[in-house]
């Protein structure tokens, strides 16, 4: 069982994925597998709670770019919250924040996405 995904829940028609540990290629693929499965059944909004993910690499983050691309095809959106400062910086450098949103709290994220 993949321990990177801590939980998956739905709130206000938003799928919220909570992660735990290193966002590498395996972590990215675990997130994308859930997103693609949910997109197939009509979900278009996703939030990732990264409170448990303090370390990422560019391969894992690149898989988030693939998810953003997939969501553009269905007019969907993705956002993130509880990010470590270095993860926010990495997202900024890679440009993810041009196509998706970093929120501070779950409340803000659910209310805004």
């Amino acid at each position: 069982m993949n321990t990177f995904i801590k939980s998956v829940k739905e709130e206000n028609q938003i799928i919220i994925i909570e992660t735990n540990g290193y966002l590498n290629n395996e972590g990215g693929e675990a997130i994308s597998a859930i997103c693609y499965e949910k997109i197939k059944i009509g979900h278009h909004k996703f939030l990732i709670n990264m409170a448990g993910t303090k370390v990422v690499n560019s391969i894992g983050v690149s898989i988030l770019i693939e998810i953003i691309e997939k969501l553009q095809e269905v007019d969907g959106r993705i956002g993130y919250y509880n990010l470590a400062p270095i993860v926010v910086k990495t997202f900024n450098i890679m440009g993810l924040t041009k196509y998706s949103t970093v929120f501070t709290t779950e409340e803000e994220a659910v209310g805004t996405l």
Binding site: N57, S58, I86, I93
Partner: protein
């Protein structure tokens, strides 16, 4: 007096870069670096290690040297691979990747250069050394 150094030898195995980041965190605490600097150092190290693991095309170990200086931390990531030509590495842009066939990966060098104060690459057919420096903010 000789500058203190820490040396690691990493086999090319999944997630070995995390050993480097754990060592970097200990050194960052020793040097009283800020949390921001510590995070930047760890992220740059991860990317340099992954590049060495993925692109050196060899099974030989990767060496990491941390040189603790009075006003900076210097990290060298040394592989014994086939080398690369930095001039052929394109600067990635997300606009060129989203909605296009271009591969989504290829961000390592860009991240390293953005996160560190100076970066040097020495590469030939016997291997690559990436030297990354973070200046200490007083």
């Amino acid at each position: 007096m000789k500058k203190p150094t820490v040396e690691l030898k990493l086999p090319i195995l999944p997630n070995m870069e995390l050993i480097a980041t754990q060592t970097a965190e200990v050194i960052a605490r020793h040097m009283n670096l800020t949390e921001e600097q510590s995070g930047e150092i760890s992220m740059a190290l991860i990317e340099a290690c992954i590049n060495a693991f993925e692109h050196s095309k060899t099974d030989a170990n990767v060496f990491i040297h941390f040189l603790i200086e009075e006003d900076s931390l210097v990290m060298k990531v040394i592989d014994q691979g086939v080398g690369f030509d930095k001039t052929k590495v394109e600067i990635p842009k997300i606009e060129n990747k989203i909605g296009k066939d271009e591969r989504k990966r290829g961000w390592g060098l860009q991240l390293i250069q953005e996160l560190m104060d100076s970066v040097e690459f020495e590469s030939n057919s016997g291997g690559t050394t990436v030297t990354m420096k973070k200046n200490i903010k007083q």
